[in-house]
C-alpha cells in the first residue's frame, strides 16, 4: 500500500480546492467583463453628478426616484425584458433580475402608484430618444459615441 506523506496530502487538497474554486472564480469574474460593456447614460446637461450611487441608480430604474436633484422629472428608457443588454444592465449594474424590475413596474402601473419606464425596441432608438428627451436616462453599449449623451458612472 502506497504511503501518502503529509506533503503529498496537502498538495492533493490544494489541487482539489483549486479545481473546485477556479470555475467559481471564473464564473464570478467573466460576467463582470460584460458589465463593463454597458453604461448608464443621460442626456447631456442633465443635472446629476457623476458618479451616481448604485442605490440612486436602481431607485431610478425601479421608478421610485422620479425627480433629479433640481426637481425636474426623470424620464426612464429601457429595452425589452428579454433583451440581452437589458439583462446585463439589470443584473450587473443594478444587481436586480429583469423579472424583479417587471414585477415592480407592474405593481406601480396597475395599482395607480406610479408609471413604468418607456420600452424601446433598439439601441439606436435608445440613443436617439435619450438625446432628444429632457431629463432622460437609459443605458447603452460603452462604445456608443454621441455628443448629446453623457455617461453616468456608478460608484
Amino acid at each position: 500500500m502506497k504511503q501518502i506523506t503529509n506533503n503529498q496530502l496537502s498538495k492533493r487538497v490544494e489541487r482539489c480546492i483549486v479545481s473546485l474554486l477556479l470555475p467559481l472564480v471564473l464564473l464570478t469574474f467573466s460576467p463582470m467583463s460584460a458589465a463593463e460593456d454597458v453604461v448608464a447614460v443621460v442626456r447631456k446637461g442633465t443635472p446629476v453628478a457623476t458618479p451616481i450611487s448604485r442605490i440612486a441608480l436602481s431607485s431610478i430604474f425601479s421608478m421610485r426616484l422620479t425627480t433629479w436633484p433640481d426637481g425636474s422629472a426623470i424620464r426612464v428608457f429601457v429595452l425589452p425584458d428579454d433583451n440581452q443588454l437589458h439583462s446585463i444592465f439589470s443584473k450587473q449594474i443594478l444587481r436586480l433580475f429583469p423579472h424583479q424590475l417587471r414585477i415592480a413596474w407592474d405593481r406601480l402601473v396597475y395599482s395607480g402608484t406610479g408609471q413604468a419606464p418607456v420600452v424601446l425596441n433598439s439601441i439606436d432608438e435608445m440613443a436617439t430618444r435619450i438625446a432628444n428627451t429632457p431629463g432622460a436616462i437609459g443605458y447603452l453599449p460603452k462604445d456608443t459615441k454621441d455628443d448629446n449623451l453623457a455617461v453616468l458612472n456608478v460608484e
Binding site: 431607485s59 421610485r64 425627480t67 422629472a73 444587481r95 395599482s111 395607480g112 408609471q115 418607456v118
Partner: protein, 448 residues
C-alpha cells in the same frame, strides 16, 4: 376585511333564486330558459370581447404602453378563465362544466401634471358569476403628490379612490400577469371579500427610505372600503333586504426589502367595520374585522418562495332578525396561511405549487361546533378549507400569457357564495356542496 362573508354564507341565508337543474327536478319548479339563454349570450359576448381585445393587442411583441405625451401612459389587461370542477362550481352554482364565468378587463391612465403630482385612474370590468356582472367600475381614481427629499427619502400622499395596502398581491389582484395563479391563495385573498379589501375612498400617507441595507416603505390608509358588489347581493348574503355601509376604516402596511430585492417582508394590520341597516325595524348589524398579516418572499433568478400568515379578529353583532330561528352572530379568531414555491425553469415558463389553509375560527378548526350551532344548516366542512395547488404558466410573449392549474380542496370555507347551490325556498344550501373537490382552471391573458 377578508372574512365578512364567510360565516354569513354559512348562516341560513336567502339567495336570489337560481334555477339549478337538480333543484328544478327536486322541487318541480319551471325551468327559467330565458335566464339561461341570457347568461349564455352574455358569456359568449364577454368571451368574444376578450378574444378581440387579445387579437388586437397581441401584435406588439414588447410590453409597451401607449404613450400619448411624455407624461401620459395608458395600460390595460384582459383575461378569460375556464374552470372544470368535480364538485363545487367556481363562480357558478350549476356545476356546468366547463364554465367561463371569470373575465377581467381593465384599462388605466396615468398623467404627471407636474414632476411631483400624478393623476391616475383605472376602470375595471369584472365578471365572476352573479356576484360581479361585468359592469365597468372605477377601480381607482386618485391624485398622488410625492416628494423626493433626496435620493434616499420619499414622502407622499394619495387621495381619492386608492388601493388598500394589504399583503403582497392585493395591489394588483385583478391583473392575471401579476398573480401567482388563476385564483389567488383564497385564505388571505378571499374572493367573497375582495370588494372590501380592494380599494377604498380616502387617503394614503406614505414614506419610503432606500439605504444600502434595504428599502423601508410605510403606507397608511384611512377611508371607506367599497361595498357595491356585496350590496348587489345583500339579500343573498344576509337573508333580508338592506344596505351595508362601511365605516371609517384603517389599513397600514410596513414593508422591508433588501437592497437587491431578494428578500421581502411585509406586515399588514387593518381595522375595518361595516354597518348593515335592515329594511325592517331592527337594530343595525355591525361587522368588525381586524386582521394582522405577516408576508415573506424570497426571490432568486429561478425561484420565488412566498408565504403569508394571517391572524384575525372577526365579529358580527345583531345580524339576525327578530324571530330568526338561528342566531347568525359570531365572534372568531381566525387563522389562515399558505406556502408557495414558483420555479422559472426557463424565462418563459413557470411551475408553481402551493398549500393553503383557512380556519375562520381557530378554536373550532374541524367546524364541529359551528355545525352544531347552525343546527346542521352549515356542515362542518364549510368552516375550513385546505387547498393544494399546482400550476404551469407560459409567457408566450411579454404581452400574452396562458396558464393551467389544478386544485385539490378539502372543505368549502372559501367557496364563493355563487358556488353554493340553492335549495328549498331559494335558500343557499351548504349541504348540497361537496367536501372533497377538484378544480381545474385554464386562463388566457394579455396586457399592454
Amino acid at each position: 376585511m377578508t372574512m365578512l362573508l364567510f360565516s354569513l354564507w354559512n348562516s341560513p341565508t336567502v339567495t336570489l333564486r337560481r334555477n339549478h337543474p337538480s333543484n328544478c327536478e327536486q322541487w318541480n319548479c319551471p325551468p327559467a330558459r330565458k335566464v339561461h339563454v341570457c347568461n349564455f349570450i352574455s358569456q359568449v359576448l364577454a368571451s368574444k370581447i376578450v378574444l378581440i381585445f387579445c387579437i388586437s393587442l397581441s401584435t406588439p411583441i414588447n410590453c409597451k404602453a401607449i404613450e400619448l405625451f411624455d407624461s401620459v401612459q395608458i395600460h390595460g389587461f384582459a383575461s378569460q378563465a375556464m374552470f372544470l370542477s368535480s364538485g363545487n362550481g367556481m363562480f357558478t352554482d350549476n356545476k356546468s362544466n366547463p364554465n367561463f364565468e371569470f373575465t377581467e378587463l381593465g384599462i388605466n391612465g396615468s398623467w404627471y401634471a407636474t414632476p411631483n403630482l400624478r393623476l391616475s385612474m383605472q376602470v375595471l370590468s369584472r365578471r365572476a358569476g352573479r356576484w360581479d356582472n361585468g359592469s365597468p367600475v372605477i377601480d381607482f381614481g386618485l391624485m398622488d403628490y410625492s416628494f423626493n427629499l433626496d435620493s434616499t427619502y420619499r414622502v407622499g400622499i394619495r387621495a381619492g379612490r386608492v388601493r388598500q395596502p394589504y399583503g403582497l398581491y392585493n395591489d394588483t389582484r385583478d391583473v392575471a400577469f401579476t398573480r401567482p395563479s388563476i385564483l389567488l391563495p383564497q385564505s388571505i385573498y378571499l374572493e367573497g371579500a375582495r370588494d372590501l379589501t380592494i380599494s377604498g375612498d380616502g387617503l394614503i400617507l406614505y414614506g419610503e427610505s432606500t439605504k444600502p441595507w434595504g428599502n423601508l416603505t410605510l403606507e397608511l390608509f384611512g377611508g371607506y372600503p367599497r361595498t357595491e358588489s356585496i350590496n348587489n347581493q345583500f339579500q343573498a348574503v344576509f337573508g333580508y333586504s338592506g344596505v351595508l355601509e362601511s365605516n371609517p376604516s384603517f389599513v397600514g402596511r410596513f414593508n422591508y426589502e433588501t437592497y437587491n430585492g431578494r428578500l421581502r417582508f411585509a406586515l399588514t394590520g387593518a381595522y375595518t367595520t361595516a354597518t348593515a341597516s335592515k329594511s325592517v325595524p331592527s337594530p343595525n348589524g355591525l361587522v368588525t374585522f381586524a386582521p394582522m398579516i405577516f408576508s415573506a418572499q424570497y426571490t432568486t433568478e429561478k425561484w420565488t418562495l412566498t408565504s403569508e400568515y394571517d391572524f384575525d379578529f372577526f365579529k358580527g353583532e345583531n345580524l339576525g332578525l327578530p324571530g330568526f330561528p338561528i342566531n347568525p352572530d359570531f365572534n372568531y379568531f381566525g387563522q389562515k396561511y399558505y406556502f408557495q414555491a414558483a420555479y422559472r425553469f426557463n424565462p418563459q415558463w413557470e411551475l408553481m405549487a402551493r398549500y393553503d389553509a383557512m380556519y375562520p375560527n381557530s378554536h373550532d378548526q374541524s367546524g364541529y361546533q359551528a355545525s352544531i350551532k347552525s343546527k346542521g344548516v352549515s356542515p362542518d366542512y364549510s368552516h375550513y378549507a385546505k387547498t393544494m395547488t399546482v400550476g404551469l404558466r407560459w409567457d408566450i410573449t411579454s404581452t400574452m400569457m396562458i396558464r393551467a392549474e389544478y386544485n385539490y380542496i378539502n372543505g368549502t370555507a372559501w367557496l364563493p357564495v355563487q358556488g353554493v347551490p340553492t335549495g328549498v325556498f331559494g335558500i343557499s344550501d351548504n349541504n348540497q356542496t361537496s367536501k372533497y373537490w377538484d378544480l381545474f382552471g385554464l386562463q388566457v391573458s394579455i396586457r399592454f
